[in-house]
Symmetry: C2
Subunit: 157 residues, 2 copies
């Protein structure tokens, strides 16, 4: 187990069978300057370093039209995170909170979510600022930011 | 195939083997007034109807502390969505855009994401406003909203 994964005083875990309610496909990966978890900032910064969103070749046409947006949402798989923590002690002081009231990467479905600033579209994907995750993190999805998004068709109701 | 899943003129698909890069666990489900996909609004509305976020009993302590937030992010599994569309034609007019530049539910990993207004915590989960998804949609995660979230520990760097 990674040292950062050790249980802290007061934390509780769930002992459940392996998950298999649905299955994911990695569509690419993220390239960041953060080689270890200790290097990762606690939150991304839109003025932080440039990072790359690299899509597998098959999926690259799926980015067509993304250039119109200044902000995109990225969903990614926090592949090093343990998944059994029900309550956590962020300050390691014995005070615990539920996993769902924290943005800790340690959660039943370790899906990371960041709104990032789109710097450029390039041949193999995107250049962005604002990520805080490990170099090599698998990519699940790219979505245009809801706030910046203009619905393409009239409301249905 | 659901009629809403028929390919429209100009749309392109990817023919890939079944996904299995990672596996999800459903931690609950969403209860909304929207019984069919035709009933779902195109976007959620914070003044829309009250909806329920129902967690499986094991996971309910994971919500401890969520009461402090006015806005939460929900991640859920769009279980009726086809996953092979690479480009889509939202207006059905032959003009296509990449799936990753749309918020369509039809995507390689059909994970829905909504920021919703937290109305109350209740015994089995949460009451919220702002959802636009089908009644019965499986729940993947609850996160406090990034904007409203105060980091619990000092920055590392």
């Amino acid at each position: 187990m990674h040292p950062a994964d050790a249980t802290r005083p007061g934390e509780t875990t769930l002992d459940l069978p392996p998950p298999d309610d649905a299955r994911l496909r990695f569509v690419g990966h993220l390239e960041t300057p953060f080689a270890t978890r200790a290097d990762c900032p606690r939150q991304g910064d839109w003025d932080g370093p440039e990072c790359r969103v690299v899509l597998k070749p098959d999926f690259r046409p799926g980015l067509d039209g993304i250039e119109a947006f200044e902000v995109v949402e990225l969903l990614y798989w926090l592949h090093e995170a343990r998944r059994d923590l029900l309550t956590q002690s962020p300050k390691s002081d014995g005070a615990v909170r539920g996993t769902f009231s924290l943005r800790s990467p340690l959660r039943p479905n370790p899906i990371g979510l960041s709104r990032v600033r789109l710097v450029a579209r390039v041949d193999d994907g995107l250049v962005v600022r604002g990520l805080d995750c490990l170099n090599g993190t698998p990519l699940l999805d790219v979505k245009p930011d809801r706030c910046a998004y203009t619905v393409q068709v009239p409301p249905k109701r």
